[in-house]
Amino acid sequence: MSFRDEIRTISPPWLQDGYGERLLYALALQVDAIAEAARQGVRARAPGAEGTPSDALLQIGRDRLIVRGKYESNATYSARLTRAFEAWQRAASLEGMMRALQSLLRDADTQVRAITWWALWALIPSWEAPVAYEWGWQDAWSWGWPGPGDNPPTYWDWGQVYVVIYPTTPGQWEQATLGAGLTLGSGAWSVGVAEPPEVVQAARLVADQWRSAATRVRVIISWTSDWPSHPLGAASTYQQADETWATNHTVVGGTAVPSRYLGAAYLDPVG
C-alpha cells in the first residue's frame, strides 16, 4: 500500500475524484518518494541485501576495515563484509593476516605464504583452502631464510614476518623497471610491480591493520610462482627475501648470488 493509494481512502468523498483526487495524488507522490528513500537508506547498511546501493559497499567497507580488492566483484565483496566481524576475531594471527591479504589481491586463487622469524612456513595454496604449516631450514651456511629460534644457524630479521604473494596467472605481477619507455609516474605501474601505487599501498595498509602489535611485516610480491618454495627445496631457493637478513651475497654451488632475490618486489615493512 502506497501513500498515493491510502490518501484516497481516507479522504472525504468530495476529494476522492476529480481535481481533489489528483491534487492529493500529486502530494502523496512526494511522501511515497521520501518513504522509499528512507527504506533504501536502511537497506543500504546491509551488504548484499536486495536493493543495496553499490556505493554503500564502499562505506560499509570503510566502517568494517575491509579493503576492497582490485578485482573483487560486488557479490564477493559483500560476502566478505557480511563476515567482517568474524574475520576480525582472527586479527593478529598469521592466518588472519594472510587471508586479509589474499582477499585484497584475489583475482582467482592467489597463493599466499608467510615465513616467520622462527622458521615457520605457512601456505594458503588457494582460496579458502586450509593453511599448511611447515617448520624447517637448511643446515648450510648459504641458507638465508630463518632457522630455529633457539639456535639460529644463520641470520634473519628477528621479530619480522614476511608475507609473499604469488601470481596466479603469468604476468600478473609483471616486473616494472624504469627505463625502456617507463618513467616515474607514467602508466599505472608502481616501481617494481605492474600494479598501480594504490594497490601496493593497500597491501601495506592491510598488513599493518591485521598484524600483531609485536611483529613487523614485510610484504613481498613474487613475480614467479616457485619462489620461495619449500623450506627444504633446492639450493636455488636459498635466496633470501632481502638484504636485511644477511650480507649482500651468498654462495650457492661455488657461485656468488645476490642475497636479495631479483624476481620479486619488496614493499617497505610496516610496524
Binding site: Q30, R90, S212, A214, T215
Partner: protein
C-alpha cells in the same frame, strides 16, 4: 521527488522546498492542472508551497536515517550551529560497536603557588580556588607546605568538565586561598570536551581489532583511551603510538627488541605522566600498562608504556581580524588544542610523521568568523616529528600579533 533504486550519495541529499514545489507542480501539470497560469499568491500555489516546505524538512530525518548506518556519514551530521550532531552516531556506536562516547573530562594541570609570607603555609586539598581569564574556576586537588618566600607545585582541577577548563600558560590566578599566596600555571591546561564525532568513529573502527585475543596493533589504540587507574579514574589518554620490536642483522641491537611492544602515550595536555613502565610500578604509565595487560596483551609479548616526548614548537603569526573579538590568549589556546589533536609521531605522510603547517593556520582561522587572514612565519614549513614525539606550543619562544583590518 520520485525515487527509484538509487545511490547512497543520493539518499543523503536533502531536496529543497523549491525542488519539491517544482516536482509537485510538474506532477499536477501531468494530471491536467493549468499550473503555468497559477498566481504565486493564489490558494493552490500557496498550498503546494507550504507542503513543499514541510516535505523538505522531513528529508532531514530521511538523511539521518540513511547516514545513521555509516560511521563517516553519521559523524558528518551537523546541528544548525555547525556543531556535531550526536544522536545518530551514538546509536550506531553504542548498539552496533558497543563503544559509548567518552564524556567531557575535568581539566587538570600543575600549578605553582608562591608564598610571600615570612612563614610556611600548609595547604590541604581544596584550600586553593583559582580562576582562568574566562572566569571558569579550579580547585586544588593536592596540598603540601609552601615554604616562607618559596614555592610549591600542586595540582588543580577544573570545577566544570570540558574545554572551559582550558587556560594558556600564566593565565590562572588564585581567586580564594590563604593570605600571602599567589599562583600561576607554568604550562597550558587543556580541557577535554565531549568526544568529537570523528574521534568516536575512529574508536569504533579500532574496536574491530579488539575482537581478536591475539593482540592486534589497533587493539592497543582502542583500549588505551579507555584506560583507568586501578581505582577506576580515567587516565585521559587521547593519543598513542606503537613500535614493534625487531632486530636487523648487522646492526647494533636497540630496543624495542623482538617480542617487545612499545606504546607511547599522551593526553590532550602532553605526555602521559609517570615514568616508563616497566620498570615503574606506579604512576599513570604503570596504570595504563596494567590496564592494557588486562585487555589486549598476549602472554608472550612484553609491553612497555612510555610517556611520549614533548617537542616544543614556537609559533610566530600575525592574525588579521575584522573586529577585535579575539585576544592573543585565544590564539594560543586554539594552537595548543590543535597540537593536542596531533597523533604521536605526527600525521603520517609516507614514512615521515609531520605536524602540518596548514593545520596551524586552520586552527587560528576557525577561531572566529572575523579572522580574515593568518600570516604564519614560524614554523615556515611542515615540522618533522620523531615516532615518540607529541608537539607542544613553546609559548616563551612564540609571538602572536593581532591586527584589526576592517
Amino acid at each position: 521527488m520520485p525515487v527509484s533504486v538509487t545511490t547512497l550519495e543520493a539518499l543523503i541529499q536533502t531536496p529543497s522546498a523549491a525542488d519539491f514545489r517544482a516536482s509537485i507542480l510538474s506532477a499536477l501539470e501531468d494530471l491536467g492542472f493549468p499550473v503555468t497560469s497559477w498566481e504565486t499568491d493564489g490558494v493552490a500555489y500557496q498550498i503546494v508551497s507550504v507542503v513543499s516546505e514541510q516535505l523538505s524538512l522531513v528529508t532531514l530525518v530521511q538523511r539521518g536515517i540513511a547516514s545513521g548506518g555509516f560511521l563517516d556519514l553519521a559523524a558528518a551530521l551537523k546541528n544548525d550551529d555547525g556543531t556535531d550532531s550526536t544522536p545518530w552516531l551514538d546509536l550506531l556506536s553504542t548498539y552496533l560497536y558497543a563503544v559509548p562516547r567518552i564524556e567531557a573530562a575535568f581539566a587538570s594541570g600543575d600549578y605553582e603557588v608562591s608564598n610571600s609570607n615570612a612563614f610556611a603555609v600548609v595547604l590541604a586539598p581544596g584550600d586553593i580556588r583559582a580562576v582562568n581569564a574566562d572566569g571558569y574556576t579550579y580547585t586544588s586537588a593536592t596540598g603540601g607546605s609552601v615554604p616562607a618566600g618559596g614555592t610549591l607545585s600542586i595540582t588543580i582541577t577544573a570545577d566544570q568538565p570540558g574545554v572551559t577548563g582550558t587556560a594558556p600558560t600564566g593565565t590562572v590566578t588564585i581567586q580564594d586561598g590563604p593570605t600571602g599566596l599567589s599562583g600561576t600555571n607554568l604550562a597550558a591546561i587543556i580541557g577535554q570536551g565531549q568526544e568529537p564525532n570523528v574521534a568516536l568513529a575512529a574508536r569504533c573502527r579500532a574496536k574491530l581489532a579488539a575482537l581478536s585475543p591475539n593482540g592486534a596493533a589497533a587493539a592497543y589504540a582502542y583500549f588505551a583511551p579507555q584506560g583507568t587507574t586501578s581505582g577506576g579514574a580515567p587516565l585521559g589518554v587521547t593519543r598513542t603510538g606503537l613500535l614493534a620490536g625487531h632486530y636487523e642483522y648487522g646492526t647494533i641491537p636497540t630496543p624495542p627488541y623482538p617480542g617487545q611492544v612499545w606504546l607511547y602515550a599522551a593526553t590532550a595536555s602532553g605526555p602521559l605522566g609517570g615514568g616508563a613502565s616497566p620498570p615503574a610500578t606506579s604512576g599513570a604509565c604503570y596504570e595504563l600498562w596494567s590496564y592494557l595487560m588486562r585487555w589486549c596483551v598476549p602472554d608472550a609479548v612484553r609491553l612497555r608504556v612510555l610517556p611520549a616526548t614533548v617537542s616544543l614548537i614556537p609559533v610566530t603569526a600575525t592574525v588579521y581580524v575584522r573586529t577585535a573579538d579575539i585576544v592573543v590568549g585565544d590564539v594560543y589556546a586554539a594552537i595548543s588544542a590543535y597540537f593536542g589533536s596531533i597523533p604521536i609521531g605526527g600525521v603520517r605522510i609516507g614514512a615521515v610523521g609531520i605536524l602540518p603547517f596548514s593545520g596551524i593556520i586552520d586552527a587560528i582561522h576557525n577561531l572566529s568568523g572575523s579572522v580574515k587572514a593568518v600570516s604564519l612565519t614560524t614554523p615556515a614549513n611542515n615540522v618533522v616529528l620523531l615516532p615518540s614525539d607529541v608537539p607542544a606550543l613553546n609559548e616563551f619562544a612564540s609571538s602572536i600579533t593581532i591586527e584589526v583590518a576592517p
